[in-house]
């Protein structure tokens, strides 16, 4: 019991950090599912590409003497490059791989999504690097470590949590408080009816993909700063975890994705810390099954727009 009490706060913090990344990626799954009712299995790899863009940008702005800029500006530029690049990639994927299949059998875009995912992984492995690539986080952000009681956490971990939560709140406000957000919710509710109301559905879908992918790109930046290295396979496992988080929270539901991500992170951390690392995944999926048995619609139920 002593062991538990001594280590619980630290494991909780560990879990919240990991969970905020899950949540950020889960938002992408949920946004796209909410609008199109399709699972964008390439989303984890969009996040991976975002992380590589961030690493590339960091390399240019930190090491290259011509383009070297102060650290704070370099981080801002990394965010612009990674969010913009990932966003455009998401829009491109939608245009090439999903839009032609929008009225096809629902399985068809699922298959192209898996295809895009494998393509992105292989492309980065072959053209960029099969080995992990460094993000020079030492040169970009202060390596401050916070000590609160027995809890130790680096600044980059706090950043991960704070930025992720801020983005989630901003996204929530965008979807529920703005005109464009209403258009998104209308499209989610009934695409045809939204068209009749004068909503440019294609544009709504494009913006949704851009937003979802840009969030993934931001996830890539925060990840790079926190863990300092990125590799071509990083999107695979995280994509599955984030997808699970989205389903636990109720896929299609933005607040559900946030809570699902944080819960999943904390659950993993506590199982790993106090039961066994070996059973981490078993417990995660046990939780998923339990939630689905008791509340098949996920913890938060209703999707993006309330559906009848």
């Amino acid at each position: 019991m002593d062991y538990f009490l001594q280590n619980f706060p630290q494991q909780l913090v560990n879990g919240l950090e990991a969970g905020s990344l899950y949540a950020l990626i889960a938002l992408g799954y949920t946004l796209i599912y909410g609008i199109l009712e399709m699972l964008n299995f390439a989303h984890g790899d969009v996040y991976m590409v975002g992380a590589f863009l961030a690493a590339g940008a960091a390399g240019v702005f930190v090491h290259n003497e011509v383009a070297a800029v102060p650290a704070g500006l370099a981080v801002a530029l990394m965010m612009v490059v990674a969010m913009g690049g990932a966003g455009l990639l998401g829009v491109g994927i939608e245009r090439v791989a999903y839009r032609p299949l929008r009225n096809a059998n629902r399985l068809a875009p699922l298959i192209t999504a898996i295809g895009v995912s494998l393509f992105l992984e292989s492309a980065v492995q072959v053209w960029v690097s099969p080995a992990p690539v460094l993000v020079p986080s030492n040169a970009l952000v202060p390596q401050t470590v916070f000590h609160v009681g027995t809890v130790v956490t680096p600044l980059t971990g706090v950043m991960l949590f704070v930025v992720a939560v801020a983005l989630m709140v901003a996204l929530d406000a965008f979807v529920f408080r703005t005109r464009f957000g209403s258009a998104m919710r209308a499209t989610a509710q009934d695409r045809e009816a939204a068209t009749f109301m004068g909503i440019d559905v294609d544009r709504v879908i494009m913006v949704t993909f851009f937003l979802a992918s840009a969030l993934a790109g931001m996830g890539g930046v925060l990840f790079g700063l926190r863990y300092a290295s990125v590799d071509f396979f990083m999107g695979y496992l995280l994509g599955i975890k984030a997808f699970t988080a989205a389903v636990i929270g109720g896929i299609g539901n933005i607040r559900g994705a946030m809570v699902g991500g944080l819960l999943l992170g904390v659950l993993e951390s506590l199982v790993g810390g106090f039961i066994s690392s070996q059973f981490q995944d078993s417990f995660v999926f046990l939780a998923l099954i339990t939630v689905l048995l008791i509340r098949p619609q996920g913890l938060f139920g209703q999707p993006l727009a309330d559906r009848a």
């Binding site: 560990n14 690097s129 080995a131 863990y227 300092a228 396979f233």
Partner: protein, 398 residues
């Protein structure tokens, strides 16, 4: 499409020359095999591409060098690329092509113990059996199962595990946190190390990482709670850099209040860079030598040639087995070259017997396999991260 035509021409020329020679089996042309193929097998894409991609480059270079030196009595060797993606099922499908084609004379690989153990029966029961020379599969069962097809140039887990444990004890280890990465290779190795620690009354705690894991904070909290002075991580993948960076962030600095011993994938100097120096002072053992880390002109020439072929930063991306992959290819190709040619054909049975009996000249010196297929005198190399390099500090002969 030009290749079959050229082969046909060569075959016709061979027939013509043989006719001139009065139909005897003597003469250069009769010793020239019609077609020689070998396969490179490993995880060239997928989760273990970080060890596979560099090994493939090495094998391609070995075949090219061998062909430039004349091939098998003038016949260039064709390299088939079998990307098993670290899956025994995929491996079996790929190997089926080779099993049915008698001009496929051997495999360089498979690289992962799990893949070997899942597919070796098929290779052994083929007619004739299809031999392989692995550059990295270290699980003891790879060569202990009595299969004549099995060979490897790397050292075994039962040499490495105890050597690793003994090394930590010699360095004064009091409490060891033993981790594996959930694979046939790393779990088997960590078991060996753990058993040696247990038999020497060194307290340990066992834990597991996952392939591709990036966030180690949960594990590090446990290491601190356990009060370990050594962390042992049996791993072949890219998990080490984020792991040690986070150890440092959470206050465990290698060389100060914690020591770190990694295995094969972790003698890679790029970990020092990708961990931004947090890896400095860490040790790692490897079941093969790193050509850049050993003395010897052949190894140095190979490193130069590798960089010339694939770019100046290629060695740092090549993973831990780019040396042993070249070595394994050299052994297989020389065994093929030493095998008799009958009517333009080389038999796999002869290749297997030559693999067993011959001594091969490689970039690491002479190599010979014992009766089980293990390399004789295979050593364990201990590296230490020093500055920006991994330096060999010790060689434990096997």
């Amino acid at each position: 499409m030009a290749q079959p035509r050229i082969l046909a021409l060569i075959a016709m020329a061979g027939v013509g020359l043989a006719a001139c020679g009065g139909g005897s089996t003597g003469g250069a042309a009769a010793n020239k095999p019609n077609k020689v193929q070998i396969a490179a097998e490993g995880p060239f894409t997928g989760d273990e591409a970080s060890i596979g991609a560099g090994a493939l480059q090495a094998i391609q270079l070995a075949v090219k060098d061998f062909n430039n030196a004349g091939g098998v009595n003038g016949t260039p060797v064709t390299l088939l690329i079998w990307d098993d993606q670290h899956s025994a099922q995929v491996a079996q499908t790929l190997q089926a092509q080779g099993i049915s084609d008698p001009t496929v004379l051997g495999i360089v690989g498979p690289m992962n113990s799990g893949v070997v153990l899942g597919s070796v029966q098929g290779l052994q029961s083929a007619t004739p059996p299809l031999p392989f020379v692995s550059e990295s599969a270290s699980n003891v069962k790879v060569t202990d199962s009595g299969n004549s097809v099995a060979h490897r140039v790397n050292a075994r887990d039962d040499a490495q595990g105890p050597a690793d444990a003994k090394f930590m004890i010699d360095q004064g280890a009091k409490k060891v946190y033993v981790m594996d990465a959930k694979s046939d290779y790393s779990t088997g190795l960590a078991d060996q190390t753990q058993a040696y620690l247990a038999s020497h009354n060194i307290p340990y705690q066992r834990d597991q990482a996952k392939a591709g894991q990036k966030d180690f904070s949960t594990t590090i909290t446990k290491i601190k709670a356990f009060g370990a002075d050594w962390v042992y991580f049996a791993d072949e993948g890219p998990e080490a850099a984020p792991f040690v960076s986070q150890m440092k962030q959470q206050g465990l600095t290698i060389g100060q209040n914690i020591n770190f011993l990694g295995t094969d994938g972790e003698e890679d100097s790029s970990i020092i860079t990708t961990s931004q120096g947090a890896y400095d002072g860490a040790y790692a053992t490897n079941i093969t030598a790193d050509p850049a880390g050993v003395s010897g002109s052949a190894a140095a020439a190979y490193v130069t040639a590798f960089k010339a072929a694939y770019g100046p930063d290629s060695v740092s991306k090549a993973g831990p087995f780019y040396g042993s992959a070249y070595e394994a290819a050299q052994a297989l190709l020389q065994a093929i070259k030493n095998s008799p040619v009958n009517n333009g054909k080389i038999s796999r049975a002869d290749v297997i017997s030559h693999l067993g009996s011959d001594t091969f000249t490689t970039i690491f010196g002479s190599v010979k396999f014992d009766s089980k297929g293990d390399v004789q005198g295979g050593g364990i190399y201990v590296y230490k991260a020093t500055g920006s390099n991994m330096v060999v500090v010790k060689q434990v002969s096997g």
